[in-house]
Amino acid sequence: MTPTGLLSTALLLGLYVLLAGGYGLVYTLARLERWRNLKSVAGVFFVLHCAIAVLIVVSSALAPGWKLLLVASSVAIFVIPPLTWRYLEHIHGGEGTQ
């Protein structure tokens, strides 16, 4: 890995998780406030997260196995907020949408 590659890859990895967190945060806010616009913003965060994932896959010096792990994690990241929301609603008896 080149010196600049080291820094850029690490920053991209951090951004990858940060954008995942942004997606989770905005998705939950969107469901709480029932704002369709906010749901689009959540979508934007996830698209940006995917863009970072693609950038890492295409440009970084990581081995294929790690890139595959990142792609699989992105799938999990996509699913976690809606799944968590549904489960929370279920056990709280629908508090969030009242």
């Binding site: 080149t2 010196p3 489960y87 279920h90 056990i91």
Partner: protein, 197 residues
């Protein structure tokens, strides 16, 4: 069991933990053998009687320690018992002086002072030998450790930790052995300056 039943998740937590702990136990058993002196990654203490080098291994893509010809430390060959004793002493010095609260070993410790993993192989010791007028590298290292403020390298000085000659020699022996441990290439590029910025 249903997803909204806490008992379902309790069972999940218990089984997950049991599986993970079992795997950890298996890997621990294997790793402990590898890291024992004489194991696959850690040389026996008697390696202090040999020349240590650090060479690029194309297959692994990293630098690896290479144990070379005879090179007694302080001009004296140590048998296994003596080597073990000097290592015991060296580690006791390192702990008693809390070296790892300024320095690091294998990157573990504090980051105020340099990493000591490959300190034995540091190119600076050649110059150090000249400065101190010591007959060998190890004697130069001892002179530094006993009187560090006399040989300040830069603005951040090492304080005098009041090491005896015996303690300083033990530390140097410890550092020679540490340099021979296979650390999967840590620290990276040791001794090679990268041309690309």
């Amino acid at each position: 069991m249903r997803f909204d039943d806490p008992a379902f998740w309790r069972a999940g937590a218990i089984s997950t933990i049991i599986v993970m702990l079992f795997v950890l136990a298996m890997l621990t058993y294997d790793s402990l053998a590898a890291i024992a002196p004489g194991g696959s990654h850690v040389p026996p203490y008697s390696v202090v009687n040999r020349h240590i080098d650090y060479v690029f291994d194309a297959g692994r893509g990293i630098d690896v320690p290479v144990i070379g010809k005879a090179e007694p430390l302080f001009g004296k060959v140590l048998d296994n018992a003596a080597a073990g004793a000097i290592m015991d002493k060296g580690k006791l010095v390192i702990q008693s002086r809390a070296c790892m609260d300024c320095h690091t070993f294998y990157g573990n410790g504090a980051y105020y002072a340099p990493d000591l993993t490959k300190a034995w192989l540091d190119p600076d010791w050649e110059a150090w030998q000249a400065i101190t007028g010591a007959p060998t590298k190890e004697e130069a290292m001892v002179m530094f450790l006993v009187d560090p403020e006399k040989y300040a390298t830069w603005t951040r000085k090492m304080p005098n930790m009041h090491l005896s000659q015996e303690e300083a020699r033990a530390v140097v022996a410890y550092l020679k052995w540490t340099a021979a441990v296979d650390t999967n290439g840590f620290p990276p590029n040791f001794g090679h300056v990268h041309a690309d910025r």
